[in-house]
Symmetry: D2
Subunit: 335 residues, 4 copies
């Protein structure tokens, strides 16, 4: 048996819902050890620090600690760029929740700083780590469906986020469909060169007042002619709808929704099974855990595929293009 | 193109529900032509004769008509044996609804008369003609599951028949499970040598008062050790439950229930699909049609597999044994 | 019981594959009686006429026969307009296979002639008569999914048609996706006002040489903001892929593919079921039969919903717009 | 927040496959702390002790340690009774893998010792802790299917165990079907009063030479007339087949097999999905974890339902009766 790897010292920036998920996974992993928790709410920071045996620190103090090898950025989107740059300058490896930023230029600048300091930056596109989607990609790569020709991604949230979140989210394309753009790039195996996006407000008129949409479809095309359809809704009565269908010259591989149990009922009204898992915390619980584990393993030198800063930037650029396509009513080139 | 076969002249004995089904299929087939309809209710006979362009006749007159090549016996069970014998003596080919009779001796005597006069006798075990079960048998025969080891037959009616029917039905084993015994023999590929049957009254206490049961399980064993489980209920809330599962050394092939459409719903209560088709007329509509077509084709000399009198007798013997096993609480030998 | 309706005298124009389907259904129906069959191939006409007990006639003679109440136009697309007009002038009710014509102006002129002579014209959009899709529409209309918001139509043929057919088909949008445009109009409950279509040649380079595409996606939008996605491929390894998913405020209703049996296998490679039914003749066998039956019932005065000339024209206009969108790379208005 | 509970000190007896599973779950739980590991193989004990931060001890030393509050018995079946009694005398709470013993009298004597010393004894019937089966039981208890009438349990192992295991296993009924007997008792809600078991050797003739069977069916009946069917095979090509179907007056609830992903394929051979999870370690991974967690929670005073010594004894008695029924060919009373 080889000597055990010392756990990587960690600072967690952001103690909200997603920060607690990452911290919980990091705490349970033998590969990481949370040393610092920072949050603008000291109560939130203290709760999380207590639960993880860490201490509450300022970002500056955390970054100044030599024992910290990596940071987990799970704070609000508008703080991502600044924290990435500060962490890069401090020489820390970075795991950052998506998106890099809502502004492409800002994101590019952050990536330049990361590049300059030569630190690792991994983006939190959780779906890439879902075991089912990983197997789906493997099937496509291994030729189970021949040449991939059409990709269909269905992604529907159970309910719209609060109005104040909508207001600072950057809009459906940058906040929600950005995940699907990343999945499309990951699965298509080549870059999309054009996008057309069409959107409506059908769920909640308040979303229209905020300048956003809640129902959207997009079609992407790659240079070789592959087509990808994405369907988004901010509201779904039967749970969190997360399906992918890859169609190719030799067949189709698709992924249905996960449910809490394997039960089926039959009665005078018909056959029944459960709703889909309620939302991303349940649907992607394994993915969140595996994502951080892979990040840690990458830091100790294993050859692990992780979405990086360029992936984050590219998804953001596509989201920007989708927004422009929706506004102009015309296709937008991605090259 | 070969010269067209003249249709077979037919007499239909019994103008009730099942008689109308067979007459409708015979009338629609170019291979048969209904000439006579007989029923103890002249109104029923007239209605059916009108619908088929036939005339109402007595059994005697129908059997005396030289144009009649075959009879369809769909009258009440207690008249089957007499009609089989009379038809055999008249030299007519016979299609008879199951069962031959409720009494094994009577059935044997009828078969002796049939044998003596050398006429064709086919039994109305409709399930043998269901396209899905036919394919299932073909899979088993073709080795898709290796050696068949265990057979599981689930058969549940939507609701109990009327009390007066129960009273003269011969009981669940002879009236209902007899179909499953025939399926077991057909699919196992060898004769069962022992049966154990266990039964209860859980659906309707009136059935107990009539000396019958409404819920039953049986296990059959063949000489080579194959096992077969049968599950029956006289009541099923989600439609007519008709499933078969064949398990073998190399795999399993099973047949689920048929539904009216391919729709699936999803809403806040979960995913839903329709109930199973309501009862045998819907579930086995194709089987009833194909059954008669095969009977006609057999009569014109084609090599067609049809259940015959021995199949009818053997199923009845197993049903008798099941009844005795239920009453005695002990297994009953079938050899 | 009311007096039986005398069957409607019919002339069938076109004795090819689809003509034989319609003639077979008409022949089997008590509501229609085929009197004349016309085809440019006298051999084909004779075969079909023989099978139906009709006689081979010229179109002119058939239309001059006073006993002919209705015509079934199943000849090649370029003859539809002329036959519609001639039949209308002869005062015959018309059932015409889709499309009316490949040219919108020609189609409009034909409809004007139909209108002028006040005859019934029904279009052969077979899918509207599929029992599963009918139930799906009923569910949507009855509010089973709340307000319909997104419609997803997947339609993939098993294999491309022969090159000579492609050449005169009018292209994928007018020949294949036109069915989906009709389904979209029928199910959306309001007219689409804009379409964007994106297409590729991924299946067969020969199709590109013929100026056509074989892989296409389209997105339609209605005035109220409903979105509809259509996915087409000219080749599908697992059968004829015909699925519809309707998503709304209260849920989703979707229709999977039909298979020949209800069997499922399990072995060391996993669980298996059959491919989808091979192509439209199998998948829509019931629809073809019901379609003609409804046409006949409409002619005898029943209130039956049938797609008419305007439906045919509208689908063609959308197909034209899709073709222009594909060529220009821009959305095309449909109003 | 209440003060944290100090973890329960544990001794693990048995460091084989199942011992490592339990030790792994205990080690990962904040509620337990493994202090001692004992095994007849000192190498196995050392490996496991190292992995858990525990020390290798003799049973005597472990039981003499006052810090030990509970023992986990996962050694070979023939040592269970002795370890239960020794642990009870030492006043330790006991979690014991099934079965208590292969001999009913020995098991009864052990339970008497447990009773005398007033210690907690929980039996390792892992399936009772499977989330899907728990939900199924809840549905039955809550009346989702009305009155339960028929229970069908299908349980098939992927491959027979090694011959030497078979030889000392007590036979299929005591080793394998005992799990199903426990599930039957748990789900039926009342005791079975009679059993009939039928068995064959169809998988491996070597098993016959060892005096055992590999293919078996049993039917149990309760006092109120509920029927339960159990189907077992020692070999299953498509994974570990673990299904339960509960049928009642108002409907049916059933549980299918779990698979590693949610993927579905379609190609020219049909539609496909994965095999069932390979064996109990994968299928019941959650159940093993939850089982131990519930044991710990019970020890700290929570009201948790756990199978106890009487459950273990009762399942063994039914297994004995099944063996006798198989040998005698007659039903065996369970009262």
């Amino acid at each position: 048996m080889t000597q055990a790897q010392a756990p990587i010292g960690l600072a967690v920036f952001g103690a909200g819902r997603i920060g607690r998920i990452h911290a919980g996974n990091a705490h349970a992993s033998p590969l990481g050890e949370i040393l610092h928790v920072a949050d603008i709410s000291s109560a939130a920071a203290e709760d999380l620090a207590d639960a993880c045996g860490a201490k509450v620190s300022s970002v500056e103090d955390a970054l100044a600690d030599d024992r910290v090898g990596a940071v987990i950025i799970a704070s609000s989107t508008d703080s991502h760029a600044g924290l990435i740059e500060a962490s890069a300058r401090a020489g820390k490896a970075i795991f950052c929740e998506k998106p890099l930023d809502l502004d492409v230029e800002t994101a590019r600048n952050s990536l330049a700083v990361v590049e300059q300091h030569g630190v690792e930056l991994c983006l939190g596109f959780n779906r890439r780590h879902d075991p089912t989607f990983n197997q789906l990609k493997l099937e496509v790569v291994n030729g189970a469906i021949g040449n991939l020709e059409m990709l269909t991604i269905t992604s529907r949230d159970p309910a719209p986020p609060p109005a104040d979140y909508i207001g600072r989210s950057g809009g459906l394309f940058r906040d929600m469909m950005i995940h699907d753009f990343d999945m499309a790039r990951w699965l298509l195996g080549e870059e999309p060169v054009e996008i057309i996006a069409v959107a409506s407000v059908l769920v909640d008129k308040q979303i229209e007042a905020l300048g956003d949409v809640d129902t959207a479809m997009a079609v992407l095309k790659t240079a070789s002619g592959k087509l990808c359809h994405i369907s988004n809704s901010r509201r779904c009565s039967y749970g969190y709808d997360q399906r992918i269908e890859a169609f190719g010259s030799g067949g189709m591989v698709s992924s249905g929704n996960a449910k809490a149990t394997h039960l089926n009922w039959a009665d005078e009204h018909g056959y029944h099974s459960e709703v889909a898992l309620p939302f991303f915390l349940e649907r992607y619980a394994d993915a969140y855990r595996l994502q951080l584990e892979k990040f840690f393993r990458k830091l100790v030198g294993e050859a692990v595929e992780m979405p990086n800063g360029v992936d984050g930037l590219r998804a953001l650029e596509i989201a920007d293009a989708a927004q422009r396509s929706h506004e102009s009513g015309a296709p937008v080139s991605l090259v």
